[in-house]
């Protein structure tokens, strides 16, 4: 075990988070990710050693403390990157947040179920789980990582009855296929802890970052999905009795 305070490697903060969980939220973007999702709009969070900040959990709480009156209907969301790469830091952060009565959410792809990760979930009020594709082969192409751990993670959340939002990024030519969405929806429908599904249309706001970082952007020619396709995906979830927006 390391000695001394745990330092979180952090990419950035957003004090006005409106799209990562319920209500107005303080969002901490962690540095480092194991996935290499083709459509990722935060490629600048990939490499763990490029953190802008190294802070203790208490220092992070102090950064949001002044803003707490804004977050009474919201809370804190840890996103990334992949926050579950730094579970001991998150666990400690969430533990002190819970002590202050702050609602905690984590935006993760569910990469592992290590003991440390399970510790984090003990202090987590809401999981935003990115279940990127239900087909193992496409999942591998899309993210560079296998699907299995994420499915295990999802089942564990269901078993522990941890409220969860499932996020599904709709990428034309990849995830925007009725059969894939059907299967995805069926799997989700079996999880009683899922509060809702968020269908997130693919966008290219991150493309510039790839240029800056000198990483090849493989979805250059893919266009955002049409409103009809977005509605189509939503309707499939609804038909399975799932709340969607």
């Amino acid at each position: 075990m390391e000695k001394g305070p745990i330092l979180g490697k952090i990419h950035s903060f957003e004090s006005f988070g409106t799209v990562d969980g319920p209500g107005l939220r303080f969002v901490v973007f962690m540095q480092g990710c194991a996935f290499r999702c083709l459509y990722c709009h935060n490629p600048d969070t990939f490499e763990m050693d490029k953190a802008s900040y190294e802070l203790t959990p208490l220092e992070v709480l102090q950064r949001m403390q002044k803003f707490l009156p804004y977050y009474r209907r919201g809370g804190i969301t840890v996103s990334g990157g992949e926050p579950m790469l730094q579970p001991r830091f998150i666990k400690e952060l969430f533990e002190i947040c819970k002590g202050e009565g702050i609602h905690t959410a984590i935006d993760t792809a569910g990469i592992s179920l290590s003991e440390d990760v399970r510790d984090v979930l003990n202090y987590t009020d809401l999981v935003l789980l990115d279940l990127k594709c239900i087909d193992p082969e496409i999942h591998l192409i899309l993210t560079d990582k296998p699907l299995e751990p994420t499915l295990d993670f999802a089942k564990y959340l269901a078993e522990k009855e941890i409220p969860t939002w499932i996020r599904y990024v709709l990428v034309p030519g990849m995830t925007d296929r009725d059969d894939l969405i059907e299967k995805h929806a069926e799997f989700v429908a079996g999880l009683k802890n899922v509060v809702k599904v968020e269908v997130l249309p693919f966008h290219k706001l991150g493309e510039k970052k790839y240029e800056t970082l000198g990483i090849e952007y493989k979805l250059k020619d893919v266009k955002p999905p049409s409103q009809e396709r977005i509605d189509n995906a939503k309707n499939i979830y609804k038909s399975k009795g799932i709340v969607v927006n």
């Binding site: 903060f13 957003e14 004090s15 006005f16 988070g17 409106t18 799209v19 990562d20 319920p22 209500g23 107005l24 303080f26 969002v27 002044k66 803003f67 009156p69 804004y70 977050y71 009474r72 209907r73 919201g74 968020e198 706001l205 927006n245």
Partner: protein
């Protein structure tokens, strides 16, 4: 008395005390908007007629018509109507809707500029009278100004002073007319006049006696004006319709006597609700009719017009009249002041369509009923027409019967007024510190001569030392100028009607202001924490700066930067406070720009923070665009660190966001906006917030096709305006400030 049937309480019956009447009789409303009524056929008919007139006004370069022959006064014009058969509330400034009147007593020059600009000419007789026989307010001011004041105004160090237009800012307590009737009010003033006979006839007493007799005279004229419309207002209002009509007549008389820059309405909705509730209970009116009264009232207020010069329009763009109405808030006893009529006022934005006036201001408290909070947020998101102010911050200072005067500062109704003093250009003052008091644009020596800074890199201590000297000198001449203006305004352009609806002894605030606070703060932080190299022209004047290294700008909730902003505000306020104010007013300040942030930018050279020459300032107290990189909450949090005690006239923040960045769906947007307001308006939090919710693409389209967006309204620092009435530069500035991305 019949008129007061069903009303409780006694104190308000034995003295003029509108607050007591409200507290004894109003019905707090904690429900939602489901009860609201659609427009009646009369309302729809009138709206159509007004739309056609507004269309004509746009076609006529923004001015529908001017009556150049008649000097405006309470009784100057015969009655005018939109459609007498449909109007439930009547009265116009002149004999035709949108036709503007002339007010030569502020400044003949500005009046002539305005007339010529719109293709009219000044009546020669009027010109002769006001240049030969009657002195204007502006002439008086010019006669007393010092060379220092003149240089400071000409260089743009002080801008926007009410020296050639009406100062505005008084709020007549128009509710008194409805509650007491004219006879009682005149009797009250006459008895005050009789009592005002002390042994010594000091200047002060003589002035007060003259003013009081003018007040009585204008109350009598007011009676004549109402009579011309067929209304007897000698007795209190008997019905809700009369109560609305009497209040409207009163603010109309104020607008006929004066062309003050603002003509606030006060806080009328909860007062009127008492009359509406009584009539509803007695089956005198239905909900449809109640809404109709409010709709027609608001429609009339929207037609107020004043003729302004091009120079004025640069500072206060888009023809604003600042008919500011304060809604909601909490009473000191803990009951909400929100009533059904507060909802009815907001609902006019749907029944009449979106519009910038009246300047609807919601007094926010965390303890407001949730349905009211949600409805306000909904209306904001739908219309971008509302501003919010912190009731929990202001109530301890002003009680629960205050209203916002003009832009963002509070006033106790009927008990206080303001001597409006516009603002100084703080970044320019900083440049003067560097340049030995010479203007960076013209090279003219504006301040008394002192040694300029000659080093290649700016040293923080040296700059601060000189900056304080400049501020000290500037505060002195600034107070002199504002004192002169209000002395002359009282002498040559006294607003006797508005003042007749005040108590005899009133509190006076003299209001000063700072523009460009965030630029001055960022510049100081850059000088302190980065390295700032000076680029000088051949005359040795600093005209540009090169910055190496980093500093944390204002708007990121950084403790050191925020403290610098607070200190700068406090220091300048202290310099101001050391001086004697006209009529023993209490000095205060605002951090507000109106739309003049563009003009100020043009008049100001490059600043040590990295802002290029001529670039716009941020509006009000806003951090500089793009420098607040930690999200809007961090940005708001910095602004709420500016000490309200030094800036009771208001600290303005203008917030603009695209709908998707506010939340994913309508309910989330509404809830997030409520959270933002609850977070900002803690008891020690921020003071003022403009809320705009629109897509940038919509504004870009409105710039290109203004004809498609005649009613598109947005909030700028201190008021709401039709977007298409802004100058192109102002439009681009608004577009550049909209938060568009969701993370």
């Amino acid at each position: 008395m019949d008129c007061w049937n069903g009303f409780k309480g006694s104190l308000w019956k034995s003295e003029v005390n509108v607050r007591d009447f409200i507290q004894e009789n109003y019905t707090p409303y904690e429900g939602d908007e489901a009860f609201l009524a659609l427009p009646t056929t009369a309302t729809t008919g009138l709206t159509k007629k007004v739309s056609a007139l507004l269309e004509l006004e746009r076609e006529h370069n923004g001015v529908y018509d001017v009556d150049t022959e008649t000097i405006s006064s309470i009784t100057s014009h015969k009655p005018g109507y939109i459609d007498a058969n449909l109007e439930k509330i009547v009265g116009l400034q002149t004999d035709e809707p949108l036709k503007r009147a002339v007010f030569p007593k502020s400044s003949l020059g500005s009046l002539e500029d305005a007339l010529v600009h719109y293709g009219y000419s000044l009546n020669p007789k009027m010109k002769e009278i006001y240049s030969k026989y009657i002195k204007t307010h502006n002439e008086g001011v010019k006669a007393a100004y010092t060379p220092d004041i003149r240089r400071a105004c000409e260089s743009g160090l002080i801008t926007g002073l009410p020296e050639n237009y009406g100062r505005g800012r008084h709020i007549g307590d128009y509710r008194r007319v409805a509650l007491y009737g004219l006879d009682y009010l005149i009797t009250q003033k006459e008895s005050e006049f009789a009592l005002l006979e002390p042994g010594e006839m000091t200047n002060e007493i003589i002035q007060q006696r003259e003013e009081l007799s003018d007040q009585i005279r204008s109350l009598n004229e007011f009676g004549i004006m109402c009579d011309s419309y067929g209304f007897d207002i000698s007795k209190p209002a008997k019905t809700a319709q009369e109560a609305v009509q009497f209040i409207y007549f009163a603010i109309l008389a104020a607008a006929k006597q004066h062309d003050g820059v603002t003509i606030s309405l006060g806080r009328t909705s909860t007062f009127l609700d008492i009359y509406i509730e009584r009539d509803l209970k007695n089956n005198v009116i239905t909900e449809d009719e109640a809404q109709e009264l409010i709709d027609h009232f608001i429609m009339k207020l929207r037609l107020f017009r004043f003729l302004r010069s091009p120079e004025y329009n640069e500072l206060f763009s888009g023809d604003p009249t600042w008919i500011t109405e304060s809604l909601g808030g909490m009473g000191v006893d803990g009951r909400t002041m929100v009533t059904k009529t507060s909802f009815r006022y907001l609902h006019t934005l749907y029944n009449l369509g979106v519009g910038p006036e009246p300047n609807l201001t919601i007094l926010w408290s965390e303890r407001l009923p949730d349905p009211w909070k949600e409805y306000s947020a909904k209306v904001s998101i739908d219309t971008s027409s509302i501003q919010y102010e912190n009731d929990d911050l202001m109530r301890p200072e002003y009680g629960d019967d205050y209203a916002i005067s003009g832009c963002v500062g509070a006033l106790e109704l009927g008990k206080a007024t303001q001597h409006f003093g516009a603002r100084i250009n703080m970044p320019k003052a900083l440049l003067y510190a560097i340049n030995g008091g010479r203007d960076e644009k013209t090279g003219i020596q504006v301040t008394p001569r002192f040694e300029p800074i000659t080093s290649e890199y700016l040293d923080f201590e040296e700059v601060m030392d000189k900056f304080l000297q400049v501020q000290k000198w500037l505060a002195g001449i600034y107070v002199q100028a504002v004192n002169i203006i209000h002395y002359m305004h009282d002498k040559y352009a006294y607003e006797s009607f508005q003042m007749s609806l005040h108590d005899l002894q009133i509190k006076r605030y003299e209001t000063f202001g700072i523009a460009g606070l965030s630029i001055a703060v960022d510049s100081l932080m850059a000088i302190k924490n980065a390295k700032v190299k000076v680029i000088r022209n051949t005359q040795g004047i600093a005209v540009d700066f090169e910055i190496s290294g980093n500093y944390i700008p204002f708007g990121n909730s950084d403790e050191t930067t925020d403290r610098t902003a607070a200190e700068l505000t406090r220091t300048f306020y202290r310099f101001i406070s050391t001086h004697k104010m006209y009529r023993n007013a209490k000095p205060t300040m605002s951090i507000l720009t109106i739309t003049s942030n563009i003009v100020y930018g043009k008049m100001t050279g490059a600043t040590p923070c990295g802002r290029p020459a001529d670039a716009p300032f941020s509006p009000g107290a806003n951090p500089m665009n793009g420098r607040d990189t930690n999200g809007s909450v961090a940005s708001l949090s910095s602004v709420s660190e500016i000490p309200y005690g030094c800036a009771c006239d208001g600290i303005s923040y203008t917030f603009a966001i695209a709908p998707p960045a506010l939340g994913k769906e309508a309910a989330a947007r509404q809830s997030n906006l409520v959270s933002l307001l609850d977070g900002y308006f803690t008891p020690n939090g921020g003071q003022h917030l403009n809320v705009n919710v629109f897509d940038k693409s919509l504004l870009v389209d409105a710039m290109e096709h203004p004809e498609k967006y005649p009613h598109l309204t947005i909030r700028v620092s201190g008021y709401a305006v039709n977007f298409i009435k802004l100058t192109k530069e102002q439009q681009l500035d608004v577009i550049s400030r909209t938060v568009n991305d969701s993370i």
